[in-house]
C-alpha cells in the first residue's frame, strides 16, 4: 500500500493522516525544512527536526504548535513509525522516514550529499520507496567540492580588496549565506551583511554553528574599510538603490544555476560561483541508489527527465505533482528588476518572501 499519496493540499500519508510539507493549510504537517515553498504558515500542528526549530519559529511565528524530534528519534502515530534524518540541505533540514507493517518510505525534502559543515550531513536511509527532489536533475550539473569554490571566492574578494573595490556576493539569505560565511577568510577584510541575512546568522550561531564575525553595512564604523569588505546580500538587492552606497563594486552570485553560461549572463553579475544546496546529478544518483529503493517518486525540478532516466536504470519511478521548487526555477531565470520585485521572485531557492520583504523594508528605513 502507498504510504504517501498526492492530495490537493500536499503529500499525504493516509494511514497516519498527516501531510509532509503541505502547500495548503492542514491539521498535521511534517516540515522537512524552513524554506518558503516547504514550510508554510497556518497549519494546526507542526512536526520538524529539533535543530530547525529556531528557524521555523523565526519564519512561521514563535507561537506555532510545534513538536520537534531529534534526528533518528522514533515516534508512533496511528501505527506509523515516524522519524527524521539529516538531509544536508540547510540547518534543520530532514528526510522523513515512515514505517508501517514493515514497509518503509522516505521523503527527502530538499537535500545535498556534500557535508558543508554548517548543518548535519546527509544520511542515507534504506527504504522500499524513496521520494526525491530533482532540482538539478540533468547531467550537466556537477558541483566542485566546496573548498575549491571557497578558494575562488576568497581570491576574488582578495583581488577586489587590493583594488579597494567592495565585493558584493548575492546569495540566498537562509542556508547559502551561512555556508558561504563559513568559508570566507576574515583576514581579507570586514564581512558585511544585508538586513535579510543577519537574523538567520543569529539562528545558526545559536544552534552552535561557528560563523565569522559579521556586521550590518550601516554599522561599519571605519568607512575607509568599505572597499576591503565583502557584502552578503540576497539576490533581490541587486539593482536596487541600496547598492549605490558601494560605489564601483564588483558583484557575484552564488548558486547552482550559475553552471549555465546563459543564466550567468542573464544575472548580469561579474562572477558566478557555482554553489548549490541541492544535490547535483551524480549526487542525486548516488543518493537514490544508496537507499536501495525499488520505487522512486520525483517531486520537483527535472521531474520528467529524472523519471525517465530512473526507469531506464530499471527502477519503478513516477512523478509527484507538487508545488515545491517551481518558484525556484523561475526565480532563477527571472532576474528581479528594481522597479518590479514581485512576491514570486522573492520566494526562491532558499528563502521565504516574508523575511525578505520585511528585512528589506527595515534596512531602507534604517538608512533614511
Amino acid at each position: 500500500m502507498d504510504l504517501v499519496v498526492v492530495r490537493p493540499e500536499g503529500l499525504y500519508c493516509p494511514v497516519g493522516d498527516f501531510y509532509i510539507d503541505p502547500w495548503r493549510q492542514v491539521e498535521r504537517a511534517i516540515i522537512t525544512h524552513g524554506h518558503g515553498d516547504h514550510a508554510r504558515k497556518g497549519h494546526t500542528h507542526y512536526l520538524a527536526a529539533a535543530v530547525g526549530e529556531g528557524i521555523l519559529r523565526k519564519r512561521l511565528g514563535a507561537d506555532i504548535n510545534l513538536l520537534s524530534l531529534e534526528y533518528g528519534e522514533k515516534i508512533n502515530h496511528q501505527g506509523v513509525t515516524l522519524s527524521l534524518y539529516p538531509a544536508g540541505h540547510v540547518l534543520g533540514s530532514a528526510q522523513v522516514r515512515l514505517e508501517y507493517k514493515g514497509e518503509i518510505w522516505v521523503a527527502s525534502g530538499d537535500y545535498k550529499v556534500e557535508d558543508d559543515g554548517t548543518c548535519a550531513p546527509f544520511e542515507s536511509v534504506p527504504c522500499h520507496t524513496f521520494i526525491t527532489e530533482s532540482t538539478f536533475g540533468l547531467p550537466i550539473y556537477k558541483w566542485q567540492p566546496q573548498n575549491e569554490i571557497f578558494v575562488d571566492i576568497n581570491q576574488w574578494w582578495q583581488i577586489n580588496a587590493n583594488n579597494n573595490r567592495t565585493s558584493v556576493l548575492f546569495c540566498y539569505a537562509f542556508g547559502k549565506a551561512q555556508r558561504l560565511l563559513s568559508g570566507l577568510n576574515p583576514n581579507i577584510g570586514p564581512i558585511l551583511v544585508h538586513g535579510a541575512v543577519e537574523p538567520l546568522n543569529r539562528v545558526y550561531r545559536e544552534a552552535g554553528v561557528n560563523l565569522p564575525h559579521t556586521q550590518y553595512v550601516s554599522d561599519l564604523q571605519d568607512t575607509s574599510q568599505i572597499g576591503k569588505s565583502i557584502v552578503l546580500a540576497p539576490p533581490t538587492a541587486q539593482g536596487t538603490s541600496w547598492m549605490k552606497r558601494f560605489g564601483d563594486y564588483s558583484d557575484a552570485f552564488a548558486s547552482g544555476w550559475m553552471q549555465v553560461r546563459g543564466t550567468r549572463r542573464r544575472r548580469g553579475v561579474d562572477r558566478g560561483f557555482i554553489m548549490s544546496d541541492h544535490a547535483d546529478w551524480p549526487g542525486l544518483q548516488t543518493a537514490i541508489m544508496a537507499t536501495g529503493a525499488e520505487r522512486v517518486f520525483v517531486t520537483h525540478g527535472q521531474v520528467h527527465t529524472m523519471v525517465r532516466w530512473l526507469n531506464e536504470q530499471g527502477l519503478d519511478a513516477q512523478g509527484f505533482t507538487t508545488e515545491y521548487g517551481d518558484e525556484a526555477a523561475e526565480a532563477e531565470t527571472h532576474l528581479p528588476s528594481a522597479d518590479n520585485i514581485s512576491i514570486e521572485s522573492l520566494v526562491n531557492e532558499n528563502q521565504s518572501a516574508e523575511i525578505e520583504i520585511s528585512e528589506h523594508v527595515n534596512i531602507n528605513k534604517a538608512t533614511i
Partner: protein, 581 residues
C-alpha cells in the same frame, strides 16, 4: 589556448564596451603574433570551414559521457548552446596544455577535418583532456564553426589600433579582407596589421576594397528634418536599394567584387566580370547588386516570373529573387539568364589609383556619373538621384517605396567624406526607411531561446485567423516566427504565461493555449508554398505586446493577403528606373 579561452570568457561575461576593449588590449599585448593572428581572424568574424560535423561531435559526447540521446537533448534545451552542453557533459579535466591558439588550430584541430568517426573519437578525447572547461568550450566552438562572441569588428579594430598605436582607420583598411584570406592567418599577417605606418604610403593589396561607410537610421518625424538636418538641397537623395551592398574593385587588369561582409564574391556574379574591359585600372565603385530584368530576356515560367509588362524597359527585381541565386552553389546558364544582376553604382572610392574618400560626396558623384556613362555597359548603372522641393515633398515620393521594391531613401550629405564603418566624424549618411508592415498576431507556439535566453521561452510562432469559406470555424494559421523586440521584463512575463498555458510538447516546441496578441512588424511579404498560411514575411519582429487586445480581435489571413503587392502575385515587384531619373 588558455589565454584565448580567458579572453573569450571575459568578452562573453560583460556588456561594457570598455571592459571588452580592455580585455582585447590586454590579450593582444601579451599574445604571440601567431596566436594573435588567429584571434583577430576569429574575433572579426572569420570562420574556417567546419572542421568536424556537429553530428559527429554529438555522437562523441554521447559515447564519452554515457548519456542517452534523449537526455542530451534535454540538457541542450536547458543550456541553449550546443558546444556548452557538450563541455558540461565531458569528464572534468585539468589544463595541462601550454600550446597557444595557433598551435592548437594548425596542429591539433585542422588535422581533424575529414577523419572517420572512430579515428576522430580516439584523437579528440586525449586532446580535450588537456584543456580546462573554458578552453574546451572555445575549442568545440572553433571546430564546429560556431564561434561567435559579442565584439564588433570596430572594437577589434580599436583594440589593435591602441596596441599598435596607430590610427584605427588605418587598421580598418589593413583588416579589410583579412577574414577572407584563403591562406591561413600567420604571424606575418598579424605583424603587418599592427606595423608602424610607413612613409611609402600605399599599403593596399591588389584586390583590396575599402572599409564600407555605413548609414545611421533617421528616426525623427519629417517635420523635424528641416531643424535637425537642414535643407534638402544639402543632401544627395537616392532610393535605398534592397540588394547586396558591394564594392567593385578594378586594378591591374583584374576585377574583384566584395560584399559588405568583406567577403570576396566575384565568382558569384560573373556578369560583373565583363566590366574588366570597360573600367580603367585604379577604380573602386561602391554600390548595390540587384537583380535586373533586361528588356530582351523576358519570361521564365519555371521561376514563375511571367506576366511581366513588356513595356517596362529595365526593372529591379525583388530581393527574394536575388536570394534564390545567392543560395546556389553553382550558377547554371539558366540562372544567369533568368536572374541576371547589375550593379547600381552610388559612390566612387578610388579613381586612377587615387583614394577619393576624402573628397566631397558631390565631387565623387560627379566623377562617378562620368565613369558609368563612359563604361556604357548594361551591368553597371547609376543609382538615380531624387529631388524634392521640401522634405514633405520627398516624403510623399518615399511613399511609393513599397511598390517600387525599395526600402526607403538614403540621404547623403553633399559635402560628406566617405567615412569608415558606422561613423559620423567626417560626414553622414542617413537611411530614411519606410515604416514596417504591421499586423496583430496570436502567439501559438513557443520554444526556449539560446545564449542568455537559455531556458526562457523567447522564440515564438505567430498566427492569424483564417476564416475561409470552407472552414466551419475560423482557425489560427501560423505565418511567422519572431524572437526579438521585447524588453527583458516583458520576456520574463511572457515566459511565465507560457509556462502556465502549455498544452503539448513537440520536441523543443510547446504549443500554448492562445492568450496573447502581439503587433508584429516585417519588411517584406511574399507568397510562399512552404508555409501553411501560403505567405512568408521578411524580418518579422515584435513591435509591442497588445495586452489590450483579446485574441479574437487579432488580424486575419485576409488582412495579410491584402498587404501582398499586386505584382507579387507573380513574384515580381517592378521599378521603372528610367521613369524616376
Amino acid at each position: 589556448m588558455k589565454a584565448f579561452a580567458n579572453l573569450y570568457a571575459k568578452l562573453d561575461a560583460t556588456t561594457s564596451s570598455n571592459a571588452k576593449l580592455g580585455a582585447l588590449h590586454e590579450y593582444f599585448l601579451a599574445a604571440a603574433p601567431a596566436d594573435a593572428a588567429w584571434a583577430v581572424y576569429f574575433l572579426s568574424g572569420g570562420r574556417p570551414r567546419q572542421i568536424v560535423p556537429t553530428k559527429l561531435l554529438r555522437e562523441f559526447t554521447l559515447s564519452v559521457s554515457g548519456v542517452p540521446p534523449w537526455l542530451f537533448e534535454e540538457c541542450y534545451q536547458a543550456v541553449g548552446d550546443l558546444a556548452e552542453t557538450m563541455t558540461l557533459l565531458l569528464p572534468k579535466s585539468l589544463h595541462t596544455s601550454n600550446e597557444g591558439l595557433a598551435e592548437w588550430i594548425e596542429h591539433h584541430l585542422l588535422p581533424l577535418r575529414g577523419l572517420p568517426s572512430e579515428l576522430l573519437t580516439r584523437q579528440l578525447l586525449p586532446l580535450l583532456n588537456q584543456l580546462d572547461q573554458q578552453s574546451q568550450l572555445v575549442c568545440i566552438k572553433l571546430i564546429t564553426g560556431s564561434f561567435r562572441v559579442g565584439v564588433s569588428r570596430l572594437l577589434v579594430t580599436r583594440a589593435l589600433a591602441s596596441v599598435a598605436d596607430i590610427d584605427a582607420k588605418r587598421i580598418a583598411q589593413r583588416l579589410v579582407g583579412y577574414t577572407d584570406l584563403s591562406a591561413r592567418p600567420t604571424a606575418a599577417h598579424y605583424l603587418t596589421l599592427i606595423a608602424p605606418v610607413s612613409e611609402a604610403g600605399d599599403e593596399r593589396m591588389a584586390g583590396q576594397p575599402y572599409p564600407f561607410f555605413l548609414a545611421h537610421a533617421l528616426q525623427i518625424p519629417t517635420n523635424e528634418f528641416q531643424l535637425s538636418i537642414g535643407q534638402p538641397d544639402n543632401w544627395q537623395v537616392e532610393w535605398k536599394w534592397d540588394g547586396i551592398r558591394s564594392q567593385l574593385v578594378k586594378r591591374d587588369g583584374e576585377i574583384w567584387v566584395w560584399s559588405r561582409g568583406e567577403e570576396l564574391v566575384t565568382d558569384r556574379f560573373p556578369e560583373l566580370k565583363v566590366l574588366v574591359d570597360y573600367l580603367p585600372d585604379g577604380s573602386v565603385i561602391d554600390g548595390e547588386i540587384v537583380v535586373w530584368k533586361h528588356k530582351k530576356n523576358n519570361v521564365d515560367i519555371a521561376l514563375n516570373i511571367a506576366n511581366i509588362e513588356l513595356s517596362n524597359v529595365n526593372q529591379v527585381q525583388t530581393f527574394a529573387l536575388l536570394q534564390q541565386r545567392i543560395g546556389r552553389k553553382t550558377l547554371t546558364a539558366k540562372i544567369l539568364e533568368n536572374i541576371p544582376v547589375v550593379m547600381l553604382a552610388y559612390d566612387l572610392l578610388e579613381w586612377q589609383g587615387e583614394d577619393w574618400r576624402s573628397k566631397s560626396q558631390s565631387t565623387r558623384r560627379e566623377q562617378l556619373q562620368k565613369i558609368v556613362a563612359q563604361c556604357n555597359q548594361p551591368q553597371l548603372k547609376i543609382s538615380a538621384l531624387l529631388t524634392g522641393e521640401s522634405w514633405q515633398d520627398l516624403d510623399r515620393q518615399r511613399a511609393a517605396s513599397r511598390n517600387l521594391g525599395v526600402e526607403g531613401m538614403m540621404l547623403k550629405l553633399k559635402d560628406a567624406q566617405y567615412g569608415v564603418g558606422r561613423t559620423k566624424d567626417v560626414g553622414v549618411w542617413w537611411k530614411w526607411k519606410i515604416d514596417p508592415y504591421t499586423v496583430d498576431a496570436v502567439l501559438i507556439y513557443a520554444q526556449t531561446g539560446h545564449g542568455r535566453r537559455a531556458s526562457l521561452y523567447t522564440d515564438y510562432t505567430f498566427a492569424v485567423w483564417d476564416a475561409s469559406e470552407n472552414e466551419a470555424e475560423p482557425k489560427l494559421v501560423p505565418f511567422a516566427k519572431a524572437y526579438s523586440g521585447l524588453t527583458d521584463a516583458e520576456m520574463r512575463e511572457v515566459d511565465a504565461i507560457i509556462r502556465k498555458t502549455i498544452v503539448e510538447k513537440f520536441g523543443p516546441v510547446r504549443s500554448v493555449t492562445p492568450t496573447m496578441v502581439f503587433e508584429l512588424g516585417f519588411e517584406g511579404i511574399a507568397l510562399s508554398s512552404r508555409h501553411k498560411s501560403g505567405i512568408a514575411v521578411r524580418f518579422p519582429r515584435m513591435l509591442r505586446w497588445r495586452k489590450d487586445k483579446p485574441i479574437a480581435e487579432a488580424d486575419t489571413l485576409k488582412t495579410l493577403q491584402a498587404l501582398l503587392p499586386q505584382a507579387s502575385r507573380t513574384n515580381d515587384i517592378v521599378v521603372n528606373i528610367d521613369g524616376i531619373s
